[in-house]
């Protein structure tokens, strides 16, 4: 079974005799592990707010929130897949296909509910296909999801001949315009994710599968089903993010979010989700998504060029990878 430490619960750990007095006094101020990502984000925000005009304004906080919400949903889905020991590179293509499907349905029916249902169905179906290929056909997650990413991206562009789909119902557009609605979706998804991961049988099976799939299998856990469900969750959350982004742009786009993949994986890993599987927490992902959004927003506000922003984000991603390696060594 999964060790408590790998699931994100800190143990008392090391020998106090070998620690210096300074280290012991520092430990007293140690932030609980589940809140470290949010704490790092708060420190970053404080630094940037103190040195950047307009950073702490209400309008800007709204901007950070609107940027962070879809990233949080995507990273949450990615976390479910990564905990199971997989990875989903097809999330951006899932978003694009969901986006155009929902937009076409809404244009034809005028129904927001029908459009959103279609988008979520597309997301879940793609998750099921990915999960089935990984779990039952035993294909490598990287190759499966890279293939579906390529196929679905092509399908989305081909289906609408590169055209964006306008004429979306005003009720749907409100989801993107009003931060409260999008935030509500994120809170519900976050709470549901937390309950499923920490309180449900599936959640415990997911951690066990990601930590050691062979051991989980020998213990009689339904490993393939656990994995399939993680990919379905990832697909559904990608579709939920597509709902918000499509509503915000008032357009169904066949290339929606095509450059977001590294941000998504970066936010998950930066938060503390281990690429080796078996480790993750909703609050970590929230911290990672907020950290990325605050960083992006602050560097934009400070007038840094596009290339410097890319360098900064690349540096942070490198740090996230180092953090993951360091955690793996020390856990």
């Amino acid at each position: 079974m999964t060790s408590p430490h790998r699931c994100g619960v800190r143990t008392s750990g090391s020998d106090p005799v070998s620690e210096s007095t300074a280290a012991i006094s520092l430990k007293r101020f140690r932030v609980p592990e589940n809140l470290r990502g949010l704490a790092a984000c708060a420190v970053l925000f404080a630094i940037m707010a103190a040195t950047t005009e307009g950073m702490a304004s209400v309008e800007n906080l709204r901007s950070i929130g609107t940027a962070a919400i879809p990233l949080f949903l995507l990273a949450l889905g990615q976390m479910a897949v990564i905990i199971s020991g997989g990875i989903d590179l097809s999330v951006t293509a899932t978003m694009a296909l969901s986006s155009i499907t929902g937009a076409v349905v809404m244009r034809e029916t005028g129904s927001t509910a029908a459009g959103v249902t279609a988008m979520l169905t597309v997301g879940a179906a793609i998750g099921l296909i990915n999960g089935a290929a990984v779990a039952w056909l035993r294909l490598p997650p990287f190759m499966v999801t890279l293939t579906t990413q390529m196929f679905l991206s092509g399908l989305a562009v081909w289906a609408v001949q590169s055209k964006n789909i306008g004429g979306i119902s005003p009720g749907f557009v409100r989801i993107g315009k009003e931060v409260g609605i999008a935030a509500g979706i994120a809170v519900v998804c976050g709470l549901l994710g937390h309950v499923l991961l920490r309180k449900s049988v599936w959640g415990r099976q997911l951690f066990a599968t990601g930590f050691n799939a062979e051991a989980a299998r020998f213990s009689g856990l339904p490993v393939p089903w656990v994995r399939v469900r993680s990919y379905i969750a990832g697909g559904l959350l990608a579709a939920a993010a597509a709902v918000i982004l499509t509503a915000r742009l008032e357009t169904g786009s066949p290339v929606l979010g095509q450059r977001m993949l590294l941000d998504v994986i970066g936010a998950a890993v930066l938060g503390g989700v281990s690429l080796h599987g078996g480790r993750g927490h909703v609050l970590w992902v929230l911290g990672g998504a907020l950290f990325f959004s605050v960083l992006d927003n602050a560097l934009n506000l400070r007038g840094l060029s596009h290339f410097k922003i890319m360098m900064a984000k690349g540096g942070v991603l490198l740090a996230a990878a180092a953090l993951d390696a360091w955690r793996s060594k020390t856990s």
């Binding site: 800007n60 950290f291 506000l301 060029s305 540096g315 180092a322 953090l323």
Partner: protein, 324 residues
Amino acid sequence: MKPFLFCLLFPFLLTACKDSGSGKPKIGVAFETLQTEFWVAGFDAIKKECAAAGYEAVESVADGDANRQLEQVQNLITRKVDGIILVPKDAQTCLPMIKAANDAGIPISLFNRPAAQSEAKSVAVVADNFSLTKETVLYMIGEAKKTGQKHKAMVIMGDLGDMNAIGRRDGFEAAVKEAGAGVVEVVSRVPSEWNQEKAQAGVTNALQANADISFIFTSSDFLLPSIVSALKAAGKYHKAGEPGHVILGGFDGDATAWSMLKDGYLDATGVQDVYFEAKQCVQAIVDLKAGKTPPALIIDAGFVIHRGNMNDKSAQMWGANIRK
């Protein structure tokens, strides 16, 4: 904890090299991409025009992501810039950006790409893609007529979600139709989605399927290297006047086109007047701030450059200037 400290330290270090504010009023310049020479030349021209009008240009680049561009426009609004010059990814996704600027009372102009019809108010400065393409292709058809043979043609189209790409495709088709079926027969229409790799693969496939293609028009000059590569592989890359020369034309007027024109490989290209478009975009912001009402659509007529007029026209061709 050390990697976390690095996470925090790295952006903090970068903020130390923040672009220093000049104290001048600011115009936000939100580009969809800076990945081709045309956009870089446009960005440089806008910065120069901003400086000439007494403004500082504040850069943001969305790297092809419409949602990121929306966030960047919102950031510019938060910074309370005095105007926004937007280069949108496409005609639809820019509408929420224009509405956000409208709601904030910030004047906004669109460089080179227009928005779709809506209530959102902006000034778009765009090339007359249809007419300029038609004029360019008619010149190429004139060159084709001189050979006394019927030519099989290929057109490389852009991203058809982009109004400019549609205008250029339609201009090509109109010129071919006007010339009549006796001169040029279109046997291949290659979709590139403004992607060099897709263009190269499409042109290579088309040349394999129709080895006798002898007339090619590309909707953007930035795809010329892909076309040249495919033509060389097919043994069809020859100068004008040499046997087997493929009549080649483009649109934009970039440095590659200028170089190929001088060397005799390119027959003509429709040049967008980047300097005119940049000047008009900045002027529109200045006028809107002064309470004037510039037209919602300002047309850059552009011009066709070919070997017959290249010495006279090169000074106006932005691609010729950036090579000097």
